[in-house]
């Protein structure tokens, strides 16, 4: 089996799996005062310190959550509510057009249910948000914006934003800045303090940790209204009994992935570049989406996103799956129907080309054999998918 869907979820690192299974045998609520509680609390706090150190944050800035979706919702809604409460004129939400639905739909929900006005920042042809674009929107609505959210790295096309510059612009206008860094942590150097952002989402299962464990890094001075009310855990921002084994495993994975970033970047970049070059030989009219490969640092090292003119993405997916190659078209709606990706459309691709796109995402256990498998299959698969597209147009 050739697994090239690491951006969807990546296999757990053996050390993270070992930490998790060992910890599952323990008892203890980290909020309890007795000895089992103290042991659990110590394990959680040590994990928090490990995570904080790996991503350049203070331990008190790590708000544990169930993953990227919860962290994104907490940041977008929580920062919005808190800022609006402090200054009722601030009712605008600014997000980029290429955000994950966890941010985009949270922002749209605020617009639909909380009276927010939504500003969607356009992206360039590579999927990037220019700081000047943000500046123009903020200047046009000075004193009206409550929160800005722009992702660190895009989950579909792998484009990396200049988050530091964007956060600076937001701060010029006194607006808190959140970034969804779910794809970035463990894949790129991420330093929370140096980035200047107020809030940052990360999740375990994209970097070799467990599903269901993640965090929102939240500056101490960032006011954030909770989504979940209850026992007052996590600075009263995120109530709920802490998941001790999940947190410990998350910490193990974050530490291991971050420590390995340089080596992994080199390996994955080489594999990815090889994959793209050889696929383009097999299918000369295929098109690489996102930032060109000769601009390292601006693109996730494991991401290869390609459009195949004349093909339906789900035909490609099905034919590759039948040959043991697992990848993704990027986005699916509730019924499982492939829709053209909002990210690709925002980048200016036409609908047909957007539909005929595949994301290959490499990860920590990818190797040359995976690339060889794709290269061997892609020519016949594209040819067959094209015939299917023609048949559908004809029939």
């Amino acid at each position: 089996m050739t697994y090239l869907d690491h951006a969807a979820t990546t296999p757990m690192l053996p050390e993270a799996a070992a930490t998790l299974t060992e910890a599952l045998g323990r008892v203890g609520n980290a909020s309890s005062l007795h000895s089992a509680g103290r042991r659990a609390r110590r394990a959680v706090e040590e994990s928090r310190e490990t995570i904080a150190e790996a991503v350049g944050a203070l331990p008190s800035e790590v708000v544990l959550a169930t993953g990227g979706t919860e962290a994104d919702n907490l940041a977008v809604k929580g920062l919005y509510w808190a800022r609006r409460a402090a200054d009722p004129r601030r009712t605008r939400v600014v997000v980029s057009a290429a955000e994950h639905h966890a941010v985009l739909d949270a922002a749209e929900w605020l617009a639909g249910h909380e009276g927010a006005a939504l500003d969607v920042l356009p992206v360039d042809a590579h999927g990037r948000v220019e700081p000047d674009t943000l500046r123009a929107v903020l200047a046009a609505h000075a004193d009206e914006v409550a929160v800005v959210s722009v992702m660190w790295a895009n989950n579909e096309v792998g484009t990396v934003n200049d988050v530091r510059a964007l956060a600076e612009v937001a701060h010029e206008f006194g607006v808190p800045f959140h970034t969804d860094a779910v794809q970035a942590v463990g894949a790129l150097p991420v330093d929370f303090a140096a980035s200047g952002v107020d809030a940052l989402s990360l999740t375990g299962h994209k970097l070799g940790g467990p599903v269901g464990a993640g965090a929102l890094l939240l500056r101490r001075d960032a006011a954030c209204t909770p989504l979940l009310h209850g026992g007052g855990q996590e600075r009263d921002v995120r109530s709920g009994t802490l998941d001790v084994p999940g947190t410990m495993s998350l910490a193990t994975a974050v530490r291991a992935a971050v420590a390995d970033v340089d080596r992994r970047t080199a390996t994955l970049t080489a594999l990815r570049d090889d994959l793209v070059a050889r696929v383009l030989v097999e299918v000369p009219d295929a098109q690489l989406n996102g930032v060109p490969l000769d601009r390292p640092g601006e693109r996730l090292p494991g991401n290869a996103h390609l459009s195949f003119p004349g093909c339906e993405g789900d035909s490609l997916l099905m034919l590759l799956d039948a040959r043991g190659i697992e990848c993704s078209t990027g986005s699916a709606c509730t019924a499982g129907v492939a829709r053209p990706s909002h990210v690709l459309l925002a980048m200016g691709l036409d609908e047909d080309l957007a539909r005929g796109s595949l994301r290959f995402s490499l990860g920590h256990n990818s190797g040359p054999a995976d690339v060889d498998a794709v290269v061997a299959a892609i020519g016949p698969v594209v040819e067959r998918a094209r015939r299917a597209g023609d048949a559908l147009a004809r029939s």
Binding site: D314, L319, V337, A385, R387, A388, A391, R394
Partner: protein
């Protein structure tokens, strides 16, 4: 063979997929997303293309351990089934959308795409018996279960379409299919059959049509030519309809009145007594044949609607259409429906061909 199993999320297509797999075929399940805006879990609506049906189909595919995909054919379905359905009603005819879906979607768009992707056939949960010993001569018969027989809605398929079709349920009674689903652990074993038109989950066909066609009011006229009422549009009616005519005054003889005919140009609905519904001859357009087109009069049994409505008949090819003389009168024969021709056979009546009913006469 490599077989694409069309899985609606219902019990029939799930068991069909299971049987195809057990027969040794390499089976891939596909759910056809046909609604432009599928009902969501939150809305709780049911229809042929709801998210819940897609989920049911996926659950069955997972239990059968076959690959499963959703194909989005909403645009094709709208263009080839829904819009013609509306246009036919507006023109005073009574279309059968299931038949059109088989002809244009399942055994055209889906089959063509499947063939291009390397599949040999499309399998469905239709109740009909099909043998394709030679691809040029597929033999389509009524199902063993007379209550479930769907050969009528498949009778519009050409030979090349049938050559790429598999109907594994044709020999089974419905009850046996449900029992088999339960025994196989398929969660849809108890799921009710769908009866409504899938793209009108509310069941309110009139409401659906009047939203799209609007009001085209006209007169309701009895056989003497007297105006006995008014209506909002001919699309509200089907030939043979008795209820919902909205006539205040009863007929002079006190007998019930039926819709006899629809004339969209003059916006006239003709109504009258039951015996005026009797049809003894009809013409059909765009015939298709599973046998050589008959050079002479063909004696057969004709079926004029999805359930019931059969009579012995003689069919003649005239120009590019057919003329059908019935041995006994049939009621409720509506232009727009299909006339399917059968040769009676103890091993299951054999479909010879079909045509779209263009006109009827007494």
């Amino acid at each position: 063979m490599r077989v694409l199993a069309a899985m609606s999320g219902g019990v029939d297509s799930a068991v069909a997929a299971a049987r195809l797999r057990d027969a040794g075929h390499e089976v891939t399940g596909v759910h056809l997303a046909l609604a432009a805006r599928p009902a969501t879990m939150r809305e709780g609506a049911r229809g042929c293309c709801s998210v819940e049906d897609a989920r049911d189909a996926r659950r069955c595919a997972d239990v059968l351990d076959i690959p499963f995909y959703v194909w989005d054919l909403a645009a094709r379905f709208r263009d080839d089934v829904v819009e013609p359905f509306v246009a036919e009603y507006a023109a005073g005819r009574t279309p059968n959308p299931c038949l059109r879906c088989n002809e244009k979607i399942k055994f055209s768009a889906v089959l063509e795409r499947a063939r291009a992707l390397g599949f040999d056939a499309v399998g469905t949960g239709h109740y009909a018996r099909l043998s394709v010993d030679t691809p040029a001569r597929p033999v389509l018969r009524r199902a063993a279960d007379p209550d479930k027989d769907q050969s009528y809605v498949l009778g519009v398929l050409r030979r090349d379409q049938l050559a790429g079709a598999l109907f594994p349920l044709g020999d089974s009674p419905k009850a046996a299919v449900r029992a088999e689903a339960a025994q196989r652990g398929l969660v849809v074993a108890e799921k009710p059959d769908s009866h409504d038109i899938c793209f009108i989950p509310s069941g309110d066909t009139r409401g659906f049509l009047s939203e799209r066609i609007g009001a085209a009011p006209g007169e309701m006229v009895d056989p003497s030519g007297a105006v006995v009422g008014h209506h909002r549009g001919v699309h509200d009616f089907t030939v043979g309809q008795r209820h919902g005519l909205g006539l205040r005054r009863p007929a002079p003889d006190g007998r019930p009145r039926y819709v006899l005919g629809l004339e969209p140009v003059s916006r006239t609905v003709r109504v009258g007594p039951a015996e005026e519904l009797d049809v003894t001859a009809l013409t059909g357009s765009a015939p298709i044949w599973l046998v050589e087109p008959p050079a002479d009069a063909l004696a057969c049994v004709v079926q004029v609607r999805a359930h019931g409505g059969t009579a012995r008949a003689t069919v003649r090819v005239v120009g590019d259409g057919v003329e059908v003389a019935l041995e006994r009168p049939l009621r409720g024969v509506a232009p727009g429906q299909a006339a399917v021709f059968y040769r009676p056979d103890d091993a299951g009546d054999v479909v010879l061909g079909s045509a779209t009913i263009a006109s009827t006469s007494r």
